[in-house]
């Protein structure tokens, strides 16, 4: 979004003005307030607001009269009318008079943010149409998506062209190649970008949990369900749902998923009301789905529904020319986040990285660089900072913390991140180990 969207809040109650003001300022909007309709009309004359949020009942001129005057002055203004006491009559009248929507106070935070995102989308779409329908897609906003290699450039081309459509996409690639980043790139360059990108890691959930995650549940659906809960499909309304590790879902879930994709509607667990949601599906997998269809473990009809567009991400070893760029990027990223001056990398170390086959792909490279910055001398990453060979010799560490961090990390790696074994080896209890892992933000490479 190039230009900040502006919002005018009109309400005679100060606490309402203040609360909405704070809410929208934190969301990055330009916000002004008016105490009454007269003041608001003055402001509208000298300044154009994209969205006007007005209370109906105000002393002096009421919100409906103000709405009519604003619409006659600037037809494209989006006016949202608020009321504490909803009546059908005033709602109908407000909509007839050109209100964009009619809402009852107090709002659900989720509804308020949806309402404003809907309005913002309308504004940006009409502005885009006016601007010669020229669509410049920029991938700049996507962090970490880097590569000059032919293989990566063709992936980015595919991302650009598929972003504008509504098609289902399957992203395939080995683990660690950045499938979620590609999903994010598609979403944030699509017209759905004002709405959420909701991710579900299917492999991490059991069948019954996945069902409740995806579809939500109603109060009383099972013991202890005291509140209604939205599912991921519902949360993705207007936006995109990203189903990672799609190959792991059970055959029962495959049937349910197919039904939801066909009808765009579903019922919450324990509910009876049909809920519709407008979402786009992007899936990812590191398995060969086609092969799974052939041997009967993945439904063919679901496969064809999901696989409208297939984007294949090459493994890092097939694009070694991107490694220097990526290393440079990760160095800047981690030095910034650790508040250190940017380090450099020794040419011989860089060369060895380009020869390494990276089974864990970009994620492995990223972890290696991050680790090298932590354990290194703070100026130059050298071969001995990189865990490319079997035994790591740790030296020239600066502080006790560095030594501790590096020792814990190495022990964790030696025990394949088994916490109990590592704790035993280090002669500490598991809680202490967890605290250290948290303190030093240690993560497994894979």
């Amino acid at each position: 979004m190039a230009k900040k969207i502006s919002i005018l809040i009109v309400d005679d109650e100060r606490s309402v003005r203040d609360s909405l003001y704070n809410w929208f300022i934190e969301d990055g909007y330009r916000v002004e307030c008016a105490e009454n309709a007269k003041e608001a009309l003055h402001m509208v004359e000298s300044d154009s607001f994209d969205i006007i949020l007005a209370d109906i009942k105000m002393p002096g001129m009421d919100g409906l009269e103000m709405l009519r005057r604003i619409k006659s002055h600037r037809k494209e203004s989006i006016v949202i009318v608020m009321t504490a006491f909803a009546t059908v009559d005033t709602a109908v009248q407000a909509l007839k008079d050109g209100a964009y929507d009619y809402v009852t106070k107090p709002f659900d935070p989720d509804d308020l943010s949806h309402l404003i995102r809907n309005a913002s989308k309308q504004i940006s779409l009409s502005e885009e149409n006016e601007a010669l329908k020229e669509r410049v897609v920029s991938l700049e906003n996507i962090e970490d998506l880097i590569g000059k290699s032919a293989a990566m450039q063709s992936v980015l081309k595919e991302v650009e062209s598929v972003a504008q459509s509504n098609s289902s996409v399957i992203i395939t690639g080995e683990s660690g190649t950045g499938k979620e980043l590609i999903a994010r790139a598609i979403h944030s360059n699509s017209p759905r970008r004002f709405f959420p990108l909701v991710s579900v890691h299917c492999g991490a959930l059991t069948e019954s949990l996945l069902e409740s995650e995806l579809f939500g549940h109603e109060k009383g659906a099972f013991t202890g369900a005291m509140y209604n809960r939205k599912g991921r499909f519902e949360m993705a309304d207007g936006g995109t749902i990203f189903l990672d590790e799609i190959a792991t879902i059970s055959s029962k879930m495959q049937v349910e998923l197919l039904r939801v994709l066909e009808s765009k509607s579903f019922i919450r667990v324990g509910g009876n009301k049909e809920i519709t949601s407008d979402f786009r599906v992007i899936c990812a997998t590191n398995r060969d789905l086609k092969n799974m269809v052939t041997n009967g473990t993945f439904r063919e009809d679901l496969y064809y529904r999901l696989n409208v567009v297939n984007i294949q991400i090459p493994p890092l070893r097939d694009r070694v020319e991107d490694i220097p760029l990526l290393v440079d990027y990760f160095i800047r990223k981690y030095c910034t986040s650790m508040n250190k001056l940017p380090v450099t990398i020794e040419p011989s170390a860089l060369k060895r990285l380009q020869e390494f086959d990276f089974p864990g792909n970009i994620r492995e490279l990223e972890n290696m660089v991050e680790r090298a910055i932590v354990v290194g001398n703070g100026k130059k990453i050298t071969l001995k900072d990189l865990p490319l060979q079997k035994s790591m010799i740790v030296s020239t560490l600066e502080s006790l913390d560095d030594v501790e961090k590096s020792h814990i990390l190495q022990t964790l790696i030696n025990h394949e991140w088994n916490i109990s074994q590592t704790a035993r080896a280090l002669k500490v209890d598991r809680v202490t180990l967890y605290n250290k892992i948290r303190k030093y933000n240690l993560k497994p490479l894979e």
Partner: protein, 178 residues
């Protein structure tokens, strides 16, 4: 009184270890010491009988008035269900670019939604909420990077979608604002 750093004031009993972990994360994220103290307020004064919730605006102002002296930022941690007049509930709130923020654990627990409590999820959510609101006090606004802790969360599941860390852009902005 602590002349430096961030003060986390707990209203109601929180386990020492639990607060310690939050303090560690906050300290790492903002690169400054974090001190934990206990606070005492008569919460009945902030109770809205009609809504059966506690007024977040008034509590934020009160924490700011009574507890903010002596530290760079002050954070009030509560157990009760918070609202502001225009919204049905809030997880927490802050003075943007100001001194003080608050949050409550009330709506962050899975039990409230009828789900099993995952071991670390409550701690993780509260940590994210604390870092997020403190981010606001340092002048950060909502971020469009989904994994960034400054991404806006209106649902408890939204909180699970993001990390407890600032993205690179927000971190740069933070260092400019500091």
């Amino acid at each position: 009184m602590n002349e430096q750093g961030i003060s986390i004031i707990s209203f109601g009993y929180f386990e020492h270890d639990f607060l310690g972990k939050i303090a560690d994360s906050v300290s790492l994220e903002f690169m400054m010491p974090v001190h934990i103290r206990e606070g005492h307020l008569d919460l009945s004064e902030y109770y809205d009988a009609a809504r059966r919730q506690y007024n977040g605006n008034l509590l934020l102002r009160e924490v700011d008035a009574q507890y903010s002296a002596g530290s760079i930022k002050t954070f009030g941690l509560f157990y009760v269900d918070l609202f502001i007049p225009i919204l049905t509930y809030i997880f927490g709130q802050a003075f943007l670019g100001g001194h003080t923020a608050i949050a409550s654990i009330y709506r962050l627990s899975n039990e409230r939604y009828g789900l099993k409590e995952a071991d670390d999820s409550l701690l993780e959510r509260l940590t994210k909420e604390v870092v997020h609101e403190l981010g606001h006090t340092f002048g950060l606004i909502h971020c469009h990077v989904p994994a960034c802790v400054m991404a806006s969360s209106t649902y408890v599941e939204d909180i699970d979608q993001k990390s407890a860390k600032l993205c690179v852009k927000c971190r740069l902005q933070l260092s400019k604002n500091m």
